[in-house]
């Protein structure tokens, strides 16, 4: 299949999914809601105030996680090394859980404390990953992945501690959020998430050529003129910002960041100037699709979308491991 066909497929699929998604759900909506954005009619309210923000949030979240995955896969030269696997999402989760436990609601620069603490947690996890690569520059990727596993366990233990010492209601709230879900996501969550995702992507998209070179090896990249240390640090911070913002709103949704760039790479080739935006579109549409499944499979109840992405993603992970 040619790359042009691949690109057309990704774009057409994404547009179809995004247009159809808000119309699908436990309550069937008439098409008339489309022309009535401010109507008092319940159908119109469900469409414009619940489903549309949710679809937008799912798209932004999926896009952010996919681009973050593409960056880490290139920098670490391994399709398994994504922010989620390396503990960045767990770090962000710990940040959110800590705020939930302390129970302070503060707004800084228009964004809730939850977003800032998720960002701090993500940065903390990335700092640990960065330290591992700094201390062991020639470490095998397996070392890095094991460091990520231990980091995940570490943050899990901290989160469990917070939950254990929390009230039953708080503990349940954190647990529910940790499953990764878009159930409570509304327009304000979209507003909270957008600056993180947009800022992160703006930075990352300008590093397409550098990512191509890093993917062929950091020493070769340096020899070709890339300021490797500065580039890596910038990319790590931008990815943390993006993943932190997404996790604060949607919870730690796994495997989107691993599958989306990998599938796009198979369809469109490895060049990052195309791969990054394509991964964003694919990952966004993929999470929207998973969320449609999440709210229809056991309707009128709802599944956390993280359950679905992990259900699809874990076998994909195994397939990647066994393929070589």
């Amino acid at each position: 299949m040619s790359r042009g066909v691949g690109l057309a497929l990704v774009l057409a699929g994404a547009v179809a999914v995004i247009l159809a998604a808000p119309l699908i759900g436990p309550v069937s909506l008439p098409f008339s809601v489309l022309t009535d954005p401010f109507g008092a009619d319940p159908s119109s309210r469900i469409f414009w105030q619940i489903r549309v923000p949710r679809v937008v949030a799912a798209f932004l979240g999926g896009a952010g996680l996919a681009v973050g995955g593409a960056v880490f896969q290139a920098v670490f030269r391994n399709p398994l090394a994504t922010p989620y696997i390396l503990g960045v999402a767990a770090g962000a989760s710990f940040g959110v859980a800590a705020v939930a436990r302390i129970g302070v609601g503060v707004v800084i620069l228009g964004l809730g404390l939850q977003s800032w603490s998720a960002l701090a947690g993500a940065l903390l996890a990335v700092a640990v990953v960065w330290l591992v690569t700094k201390l062991r520059p020639d470490a095998a990727t397996s070392t890095l992945l094991l460091a990520g596993v231990s980091l995940n366990f570490f943050f899990s233990s901290l989160i469990l501690f917070l939950q254990y010492t929390a009230s039953f209601a708080d503990a349940y709230r954190v647990l529910r959020w940790l499953m990764g879900g878009l159930g409570g996501v509304d327009a304000s969550a979209v507003v909270q998430m957008t600056p993180f995702v947009v800022l992160g992507m703006a930075v990352i998209f300008s590093f397409g050529r550098e990512l191509d070179l890093l993917a062929t090896g950091s020493e070769l990249a340096a020899s070709r003129g890339v300021a490797v240390a500065r580039t890596r640090t910038t990319l790590f911070v931008a990815t943390s910002v993006m993943v932190g913002g997404v996790v604060a709103a949607c919870g730690p949704i796994g495997f989107v960041g691993m599958m989306s760039p990998h599938i796009c790479r198979m369809l469109l080739g490895p060049g990052h100037r195309l791969l990054l935006p394509a991964s964003a579109v694919f990952g966004g549409a993929f999470l929207v699709l998973c969320d449609v499944a999440a709210r229809t499979l056991v309707a009128p109840a709802e599944l956390p979308v993280g359950v679905i992405t992990a259900f699809l993603g874990a076998p994909f992970f195994l397939w990647l491991l066994l393929r070589k």
Binding site: A215, T216, G225, G271
Partner: protein, 267 residues
């Protein structure tokens, strides 16, 4: 022959590098003139690759001086150095799924701004590099599908596309079969003789690359054990000092030099 006189393009003075507390280079002095072909030889672990990496500014900490065109290598910005010096590392592993053309175009990185497309000048440099290395027919192929010899030529093409005239190569003919070894040697010979490139190559190929060189640097334990023309190197005692092994020399090598091969006990 080398264009002698004038400022050396590459120079080290008392260069010392230690990795993990062990001295890898222990005071290396080196000068490479414009258009010269220098072969670096020595036993495994002598510090050859480290020396090459240091010349390209890839070794973060060292003592002593390393100069490119008379300026300390540490004083260059990475982009700026990349426009002068190109490095072809050992590449016994296939690269990603990039096409040959995409991979060679990556060599233009030091000439490009973040969002800019390739200019006509960039395309010309890429086409020239493809032509010089005779791989125009491979441009649409994936890097994954290349043979070792094809891959080596693509890596050299990418280095040429970078636009510098100093070429550093780490064992360019290792891992290759004989036909591809000859192709790479011919290519390096052309670049050196006709292209005016200054070439530094780490190699074990005494009868090929070393015999073609203008001068040879023999490293042992991070020290310069030999420095001079190939004719002076091709001597049983000198070779034994460098490699710690006896050699047999017979007539019939390139440029009137003898052919050398390691002697085996009992042969």
């Amino acid at each position: 022959m080398a264009v002698t006189g004038g400022r050396p393009r590459l120079a080290t003075h008392g260069l010392r590098v230690s990795l993990g507390g062990t001295g890898v280079l222990n005071g290396v002095d080196l000068e490479v003139g414009a258009g010269e072909l220098l072969a670096i030889i020595g036993p495994n672990g002598a510090g050859k690759s480290t020396l090459l990496r240091t010349l390209d500014g890839l070794q973060p900490s060292y003592a002593g001086g390393v100069e490119v065109d008379g300026r300390p290598v540490g004083g260059y910005r990475r982009r700026e150095l990349a426009r002068v010096v190109s490095f072809v590392p050992q590449n016994d592993v296939p690269a990603d799924d990039y096409t040959v053309r995409a991979f060679v175009e990556m060599g233009r990185y030091p000439h490009l701004a973040a969002w800019s497309a390739l200019t006509a000048e960039d395309r010309r440099a890429v086409d020239e590099a493809l032509e010089l290395t005779e791989i125009e027919h491979l441009t649409a192929r994936s890097m994954k599908t290349l043979s070792g010899g094809e891959r080596q030529r693509v890596w050299i093409a990418a280095a040429l596309a970078q636009g510098g005239t100093i070429l550093l190569l780490d064992e360019p003919t290792s891992f290759l079969d004989y036909r591809h070894q000859v192709q790479i040697l011919d290519l390096l010979g052309r670049l050196h003789a006709e292209g005016g490139y200054t070439v530094v190559a780490v190699t074990h190929d005494l009868n090929g690359l070393v015999a073609d060189a203008d001068s040879v640097l023999g490293l042992v334990d991070g020290r310069v054990e030999f420095s001079g023309p190939p004719a002076a190197l091709f001597d049983g005692a000198v070779l034994a000092r460098i490699f710690g092994s006896d050699f047999v020399l017979v007539a019939g090598g390139r440029h009137g030099l003898p052919l050398v091969m390691p002697a085996r006990v009992g042969s």
